[in-house]
């Protein structure tokens, strides 16, 4: 293990990348809240330096023989030692680069999107807070450190979802996101405690080493499942998936950054981070696979009936995160992480394009955007089609390569139901993606006035630049698949999957994608199409999907009938009877004691004199007789 050394370039870069956004956050909140332009400049320059550091780290360690660890002692008590520091390996470097790049692009984009907002400085402060927490999360050396920053990204997510807090639905959505993710985090924390008690150490590298194999299998399974609980919460997997669509109440760049590309991907990142540990428990991996598949299919069906452009991308995020979890759980580490990478690019791009449409057309409804002439915005429209093709797994865009890897991993499973689920998910994904594209591209009904008044050309250019960068990334990233796989595998302690050779698989996936595009074209694109999907024709199905499979209603019912009627009632009773009773009793006893004592206080000076004399006499008797 290497210890801190000031001259170490890697350490300096890591420290700079992880500390500067915090400094920007503090300075903005304390000093420059009243100066939006200064605040934005501070925040963006901090993230730029972080991006440069991340890039330098990535280049410097492109050929990394073994993971680098920098750590210092934080807590030591008995057998338990907790260290803090950086773990630098291909996975964390990659994630750091993704986070820094997307944070940077989104912050630049926000210059246009958030222009003129009264909370502009506050927005950049929170963005810096998020960037700091997320980059520390990626480089965390121990699980506890990771957990701390995991909670901090949850906090910044809460703050940013509820950014327009004067809107009731936004503050509600923030609370919902916070509480639901917290539910998973409780499980995560218990999992950490189990690891700590049984393993005596929270170092991620050691947990992934062969030493963890000496733990009893039951302990590994329980710990892995509890940690997976945190992943379910953070990555909005079944059954905690309904917070993410509601989180779309936040500003669109926030959705792009936190709720699609980076923060929700932290769950998948954690799964990849602990992949060798999870691999020790086939049962836990099976649960991950199931949860991923269920979330992927459920949210894909929800996306098929939504009219809100951001909601569609939110459902699609859940779905793709589910697919990544399936890829990892199927045993292909590179596939899952590669899809995470490509997804971060094209999903951020989708959200940022949606942001331009929303900003220009003044609404989230995709039919409305189509009628208001969304297709006349050339750059966002083209970028969105590129990203949508990537999401649908159409070559040569990045999503094709990563999805193919995951499907191959699923095909390698003995049970073919997983492959079927994956292919069905891919079909549905392509269908709802192109449904949205065709609705915006070929609007029905009379065109409405182009609501173009409230954005400047400069703002549009600022927003378009990140779109072009991301579209370029989406275009070329897929071809780096082999270099990517080589980079990611170096120093990787986990099992290496045997690549399955299914020559028919890409063709099957492509055929399904083509069929889905054709179906979407038939229902939404062609001249004279009614623009009503096949699911929307069946009322019960439409109802089921648009009510999110009644998951929220189940939560409502549980809240009303279990939490409020049983636990809250018990607590209220305890409060009223036991605690109030005790406090009231104490007060009452004091009052009556006072009333008794008050008898002695007549206010008569002579009475006091008498008492003094009597006491003196009694004292005299006591001492002298």
């Amino acid at each position: 293990m290497t210890y801190f050394a000031a001259a170490d370039l890697t350490l300096t870069a890591a420290l700079a990348a992880t500390a500067l956004p915090l400094a920007a956050f503090a300075v903005i909140l304390l000093l420059t809240r009243g100066f939006p332009r200064v605040s934005a400049a501070l925040s963006i320059s901090a993230i730029t330096v972080a991006l440069v550091c991340a890039g330098a780290l990535l280049v410097r360690h492109w050929h990394l023989a073994a993971p680098l660890e920098y750590s210092t002692l934080w807590m030591a008590g008995g057998d338990i030692v907790v260290r803090v520091g950086f773990l630098i390996d291909p996975l964390s470097l990659l994630m750091l680069m993704i986070v820094a790049l997307i944070c940077f692009l989104v912050q630049v984009y926000s210059l246009g999107y958030m222009a003129g907002d009264p909370g502009f400085a506050r927005y950049y402060a929170f963005m810096s807070l998020f960037a700091w927490a997320m980059m520390n999360l990626t480089l965390a050396q121990t699980l506890l450190q990771l957990y701390i920053f995991w909670e901090l990204v949850g906090l910044s997510s809460y703050l940013l979802i509820g950014f327009w807090y004067e809107k009731f639905s936004a503050s509600q959505a923030g609370k919902k996101a916070f509480v639901m993710t917290r539910l998973g985090d409780v499980a995560f924390f218990i999992g950490i405690l189990i690891v700590l008690v049984n393993f005596g150490n929270l170092s991620i590298a050691e947990l992934n080493s062969a030493r963890a194999g000496f733990l009893p299998p039951a302990v590994i399974t329980v710990a892995a499942l509890l940690i997976f609980g945190g992943i379910i919460g953070k990555s909005a997997q079944f059954p905690l998936l309904t917070w993410l669509p509601d989180a779309m109440e936040g500003p669109t760049p926030v959705s792009a950054l936190l709720h699609s590309a980076t923060m929700v991907a932290a769950g998948v990142y954690l799964l990849a981070r602990l992949f060798p540990f999870f691999s020790l428990s086939p049962a836990a991996l099976q649960v991950c696979l199931t949860v991923g598949a269920v979330s992927m299919l459920l949210s894909a069906t929800m996306a098929m009936v939504s009219r809100d452009i951001k909601q569609v991308w939110a459902y699609s995020t859940i779905s793709q995160l589910g697919l990544m979890i399936m890829g990892l759980a199927a045993g292909d580490y590179v596939a899952g992480v590669f899809h995470l990478t490509t997804h971060a690019g094209f999903k951020a791009l989708l959200f940022l394009c949606a942001g331009v449409f929303i900003h220009t057309c003044g609404g989230n409804d995709m039919f409305e955007i189509g009628r208001r002439g969304g297709r006349h915005l050339k750059i966002p429209m083209i970028c969105m089609i590129v990203a949508a093709a990537a999401l649908s797994g159409i070559p040569p865009f990045s999503g094709f390569f990563s999805k193919e890897l995951i499907l191959a991993a699923l095909a390698g499973r003995p049970n073919s139901i997983w492959l079927a689920a994956g292919l069905l998910g891919a079909f549905l994904t392509t269908y709802y993606t192109f449904r949205l594209i065709f609705i915006i591209l070929f609007p029905r009904g009379e065109a409405q006035a182009h609501a173009d008044g409230h954005h400047s050309a400069a703002g549009y250019r600022v927003m378009a630049a990140p779109l072009i960068v991301l579209a370029a990334v989406t275009l070329v990233l897929g071809f780096g698949e082999h270099a990517f796989g080589r980079f990611l595998r170096q120093g990787f302690p986990g099992p290496v999957p045997v690549p399955g050779h299914h020559t028919w698989l890409p063709f099957a996936a492509l055929g399904l994608a083509a069929a889905a595009v054709g179906l979407a074209w038939f229902e939404f694109g062609r001249r004279g199409a009614a623009q009503v999907g096949f699911v929307e024709r069946v009322a019960p199905l439409r109802e089921l999907f648009s009510r999110r499979w009644y998951i929220d209603d189940v939560y409502r019912w549980l809240l009303d009938n279990v939490l409020y009627r049983v636990f809250s009632a018990l607590c209220a009773k305890n409060d009223q009877k036991v605690i109030d009773g005790a406090v009231d009793g104490l007060g009452g006893a004091m009052a009556s004691a006072g009333r008794i004592l008050a008898v002695l206080h007549t206010g008569s000076i002579q009475f006091r004199l008498l008492v003094v004399s009597v006491v003196v006499v009694l004292l005299g008797l006591y001492y002298f007789v």
């Binding site: 206010g603 008569s604 000076i605 002579q606 009475f607 004199l609 008498l610 004399s613």
Partner: protein
């Protein structure tokens, strides 16, 4: 020392103090309370004088002189206060002066 035994003088002074306490606590008249206090002081002064005689020490007698002086001062101030109170309220009952209660 032929004369009154020391114990008797102490008993007298004790009785005087007790009478003073009784007077100061039982009477409902400020002047009588002041009188009671004076009697207590005199009781104490007698005990001092007797003790000075008993041990042949002059400090006891000096103390008596001090007590008499202080009693005179106290009586003058006390009576002045009582006169003032009587002018203000028309009463000498200590129970009436309870505005601070």
């Amino acid at each position: 020392m032929a004369g009154i035994p020391f114990g008797h003088v102490l008993a007298l002074s004790g009785i005087l103090v007790a009478l003073g306490v009784a007077c100061a606590t039982a009477r409902r008249n400020l002047i009588m309370i002041l009188l009671g206090v004076e009697i207590m002081l005199n009781g104490a002064a007698i005990a001092f004088a007797a003790a000075a005689l008993r041990w042949q020490q002059l400090e006891g007698q000096a103390f008596v002189l001090f007590i008499i002086a202080i009693a005179a001062a106290e009586v003058s101030v006390g009576l002045a206060l009582i006169v003032h109170l009587y002018h203000r309220t028309g009463s000498l009952d200590p129970e009436k002066f309870n505005t601070l209660k």
